[in-house]
């Protein structure tokens, strides 16, 4: 009887360790948050070229992550990329209408993200608005091409 109890304890511990390990993998390794999904507000922006930006990429202001890209699609009217972003709700009504959205790269080989820099317009962006002033992603081939054509024209 005592041996059976020890065995039950061992198996219970084993299963418990497995569940705790799964929780660790979920929280610490993949970084999902257990809390209620935060309220967000949505902004959109059209870019001529988004490079390697994808749904899930981060949106940062002054280097601080303030949201995620929720959708990337081709705008069939203008034939450019329409990026939908979900930002922290606290920022609703605090981002001015003439803010700039640009696609930046973290480090030389890092992931691409959207950087927002605030303008000075007293009118603020509301839920679902579109940022007009955008800068497309830097594409290395285009830069090299420009550089080469500048070199040859000199």
């Amino acid at each position: 009887m005592k041996r059976s109890k020890m065995m039950e304890f061992g198996v219970g511990l084993f299963v418990l360790a497995g569940i705790l390990g799964m929780v660790f993998l979920g929280l610490r390794v993949s970084g999902i948050s257990l809390g209620v999904p935060q309220d967000t507000f949505t902004l959109q922006a059209n870019f001529a070229n988004i490079g390697g930006l994808k749904s899930g990429s981060r949106v940062a202001m002054a280097g601080v992550t303030i949201g995620r890209v929720s959708d990337v699609a081709l705008d069939t009217e203008w034939l450019d990329a329409r990026v939908t972003m979900e930002l922290d709700e606290d920022l609703e009504g605090k981002i001015s209408r003439d803010s700039t959205a640009s696609i930046l790269t973290s480090g030389l080989l890092g992931e691409q993200y959207v950087g927002l820099s605030v303008g000075g317009d007293p009118e603020m962006l509301e839920e679902g608005d579109t940022i007009r002033d955008t800068q497309q992603a830097l594409v290395l081939e285009q830069l090299i091409q420009q550089f080469v054509s500048n070199m040859t024209s000199d």
Binding site: V11, F14, G18, G21, L25, S30, G31, I32, L108, L109
Partner: protein, 260 residues
């Protein structure tokens, strides 16, 4: 002229009938879900198959994580990208190494023991005696072992991943000096819970089923002599290793390739 063709035919028929026997065997014994009265049988097997395999799986996981940290660092530092170490260690462990290596160790540690145990029961006619007194050996002997293996494997894989990631952290961050924050944050931004972690777990569930199935079937189906037992034990390890590696490729192509 006729003889080689006939032997090819015989070989095919034998292989097919073994496959058929194995499938019937799985279907009949998987029905024996651990019930109230079968609880202690299942518990004993969980202890033997799962808990006792924990030590070897965790130690291997630690060393594999440490080697990944060391090798990854020396390669990545050449590109100035040693911050991506966490990402590399975590993804290679979660997607491939943890399910596959844990399953191979499991086949060697628990699979061979299962075959030998059931094989000896058959050789000493314990299984036949059980049938004589009206106990279904598939339910009494095989089902608890099958279910225990099936449940233990994902748990062992989780342990392997966790310890491996910690091993990579020990070597990369504590010893070689990768920045602590970038180890975890790069990992978090690149590992997706469903795509990477759950797919890895799904792999380990499949491997757990296949390895235990092969092990108990080889034990149940062997020729009841001492030579038969030794052959069946070898076959268990060989077949389950090959099955795990082959299935791993198929599952990877389905999960992470553009096929899926």
């Amino acid at each position: 002229m006729i003889r080689p063709i006939a032997s090819l035919g015989r070989g095919t028929l034998e292989a097919l009938s073994a496959l058929g026997r194995a499938s019937m065997f799985l279907a009949q014994s998987a029905v024996g879900i651990p019930s109230r009265e079968g609880w202690h049988l299942w518990l004993r097997q969980m202890h033997f198959i799962g808990v006792m395999s924990l030590a070897i799986v965790l130690v291997s996981g630690l060393f594999i994580g440490m080697v990944l940290g060391l090798q990854g660092y020396t390669i990545l530092v050449g590109f100035g990208a040693e911050d991506a170490l966490g990402q590399m260690v975590a993804l290679s462990l979660l997607r491939e190494l943890a399910p596959v290596v844990a399953a191979l160790l499991f086949a060697g540690r628990a699979g061979s023991a299962l075959t030998a145990e059931i094989g000896l029961m058959k050789a000493t006619e314990q299984l036949t005696s059980m049938e004589m007194i009206g106990i279904d050996p598939l339910r009494r002997i095989v089902a608890p072992r099958l279910w225990a293996g099936f449940i233990s494997m994902p748990l062992l894989t989780v342990g392997f991943s966790v310890v491996g990631i910690w091993g990579g952290y020990l070597v990369g961050v504590q010893w070689l000096g990768v920045f602590d924050g970038s180890y975890w944050s790069n990992m978090q931004s690149s590992v997706a819970f469903v795509d990477d972690i759950l797919n890895g777990m799904l792999k380990s569930v499949v491997f757990g089923l296949v390895v235990t199935w092969i092990a108990v079937f080889q034990g149940y189906d062997l020729i009841p002599t001492s030579e038969g037992i030794s052959r069946a034990t070898t076959r268990t390890v060989v077949y389950s290793s090959l099955a795990v590696l082959g299935l791993d490729f198929v599952l990877t192509a389905l999960m992470f390739g553009e096929l899926g």
